[in-house]
């Protein structure tokens, strides 16, 4: 129950989750991080070319958080994803081309131009699209968990939020009901050091991971730039939730390496802080680790580049939405619940799923 800042042990007791991750899993983790970064870099280029309307937000430097955590999810688990967490969408099965089409407001983007940038969740893949009132989705995740609990299903809801969200009262309501009902929810707190321009020391007096104990469930703090450490914590939390152990708060210590949005020059960030974190880039660090383990990272890079080229070409050909459709769809005619997402972790391969789902 006690809050710990120690690196979590993996389910099999190995230090970094290697016992849970096959060689293919590790290659996939790297691929998803790389794909997230490449997709966001391409989207930023499209923004600068004037092809992405409005503003532009990304999760540059935070790739290990969403990839490491979402990788632990099973197909029937559900996710409420934050705008810094493209990796989670990619893992659930959203193609990069659709993300780019979404950013450009095209008809075939996930929201068909109804909402912009990262405000999406593919309902067919078990994701609920976020709103700008960021802590709100923590309560929606509690509701997903509530449904699993009422129906006695061994499933998990995962949600992501920044440390900025922990200052809002809605966050307290979510933690409190999750604790009271021991809901199967995994709360991933990504502390990227700033809420827009507001630094940690203006956001809280005590590290928010410490609050978990007060809500009656464990809080753990992990290196948010180490994808396997994040995965290991998330896998343990999912297992706990799935077996009736209740929620877990995982704080991932990381850094927002870009501005809050593309319009933000980050003048408030001390250069030495950026330098410190630049030396700990999650994608580069993992590449070095895998290369040392003999995994062909260059081949993965080439594969991601090719995928992104294809997808960008596709996205640029997509039509804009038809103006008269702007008033369609305010109300639903039928209620179709969320569908299942992809679950690339080897544990969820079809022949093994039956033992867990």
């Amino acid at each position: 129950m006690a809050t710990t800042t120690a690196r979590p042990a993996a389910l099999d007791g190995s230090e970094d989750g290697r016992g849970l991750l096959t060689r293919d899993d590790r290659a996939r983790l790297y691929r998803y991080m790389l794909l997230m970064r490449a997709t966001e870099e391409r989207a930023l280029t499209l923004y600068r070319q004037g092809k992405v309307p409005g503003s532009y937000y990304d999760g540059h430097g935070q790739e290990a958080v969403s990839v490491g955590s979402a990788y632990a999810l099973g197909p029937r688990d559900r996710a409420c994803v934050l705008h810094r967490d493209l990796g989670a969408h990619l893992i659930r099965g959203v193609r990069p081309g659709r993300v780019l089409a979404q950013m450009m407001g095209r008809a075939t983007g996930i929201t068909g131009g109804r909402d912009g940038n990262m405000h999406f969740g593919d309902r067919h893949l078990g994701c609920v699209g976020m709103v700008s009132m960021l802590p709100d989705m923590a309560l929606v995740a509690c509701g997903l968990g509530l449904a699993f609990q009422i129906r006695r299903e061994p499933r998990v809801a995962m949600t992501w939020f920044g440390e900025g969200s922990t200052a809002n009262g809605v966050w307290h309501e979510a933690m409190n009901v999750a604790g009271i009902r021991r809901l199967p929810v995994v709360f991933v707190l990504e502390n990227n050091q700033f809420a827009y321009s507001t630094p940690n020391d203006h956001e809280f007096a005590v590290d928010p991971v410490e609050r978990a104990t007060g809500y009656g469930f464990p809080g753990i703090k992990v290196d948010g730039n180490d994808v396997e450490a994040v995965f290991s914590a998330a896998a343990a939390a999912c297992e706990r939730a799935r077996t009736g152990g209740g929620p877990t708060l995982i704080e991932c210590d990381t850094m927002r390496m870009h501005g809050h949005g593309a319009h933000d020059d980050m003048r408030y960030v001390p250069p030495e802080l950026l330098e410190h974190w630049a030396a700990r880039d999650p994608v580069e660090a993992y590449e070095a680790r895998l290369a040392a383990a003999g995994i062909d990272t260059a081949a993965i890079q080439a594969d991601v580049r090719a995928e992104l080229e294809r997808d960008t070409e596709w996205a640029l050909q997509q039509p804009m939405p038809d103006p008269p459709t702007a008033t369609d769809g305010v109300f639903a005619e039928v209620a179709e619940p969320l569908g299942d997402g992809e679950a690339p972790w080897s544990r969820w391969s079809p022949d093994r799923e039956a033992t867990h789902a």
């Binding site: 559900r78 996930i110 929201t111 068909g112 109804r114 909402d115 405000h119 999406f120 969740g121 309902r123 609920v128 699209g129 709103v131 700008s132 009132m133 709100d136 989705m137 309560l139 929606v140 995740a141 509690c142 509701g143 997903l144 968990g145 509530l146 449904a147 699993f148 609990q149 009422i150 809801a157 009262g169 809605v170 309501e173 979510a174 409190n176 009901v177 009271i180 769809g329 305010v330 109300f331 639903a332 005619e333 039928v334 209620a335 179709e336 619940p337 969320l338």
Partner: protein, 322 residues
Amino acid sequence: MPELTYLQAISDALREEMRADERVFCLGEDIGRFGGAFKVTDGFIEEFGPDRVWDTPLAESAIVGTAVGAAVEGLRPVCEMQFADFISCGFDQLVNVAAKMHYRQGLAVPITVRLPSGGGFSGGPFHSQNPEAWMLQAPGLKVVAPSTPRDAKGLLAAAIQDPNPVVYLEHKHLYRRTKGEVPEGRYELPLGEARIAREGTDLSVIAYGAMVGVALEATEDLDGASVEVLDLRSLVPLDTDAILGSVRKTSKVVILHEATRSCGVGAEVAALIAENAFEDLDGPIVRVTAPDVPIPFSPPLERAVLPQVDNVKEACRELLAY
């Protein structure tokens, strides 16, 4: 057909939906062991158990927000705000998460939010409000406000089975004062259809909720005038055909509601009539509403603010004489 109170009809609708549809569950403050502040869910926790009758902590965002999550997973949550006034604390989840979800993401959010609303019993500024106009500015919400036990039951069943978030305004003043015949068993009334509470030819009074009864009483014997009373029942969708049909028949219209005046339902209905039936009018559109003030506590002050039978009589007489 049995005679039930408005409150019994609401309770019956909820109980029958829960019995027939295991997806339906309710959540709210003090609704379980205590049976609800107004006893709508009295006995529910004994019948359905604590999983389907959740005594939540005092956290309205949590009530609405968790309902959204459960709904998109296939359940049919029915939220109770202890008083309609408290929806302000859960408003963000209602108007930003629930209302916009289908338009943005194609994801339906079938939740019902029950709002015990209205004044007339010295509830004061925080237990008497009629907050429906707040909801009308949030596209994606349906809003209903029944006035009779029969409608209360059928509209609640329809709200629960509707694929959209539905705000269900139940007027506290009607709970035990209003009785009426209610069909046995499950039935739904369509959302978006007004009801002619009394036919007439000289003037239309358009009202909803507790004000339907006030309109009927005020115009029952109004110097022999034939006054039509139209009960909107649903504010979103609004039954524009019924409104315009009544106005075209009588050519004079009084719009009556208990909520405050500016930008209220009456303003919307008046604009609708002005835009679409201007040539049919034989007099100005008249509104009888609460003035733009918080609802005061002390009985003489509250009576001065909430529309009374005499206010309606006076407004109708003036318009009939126009």
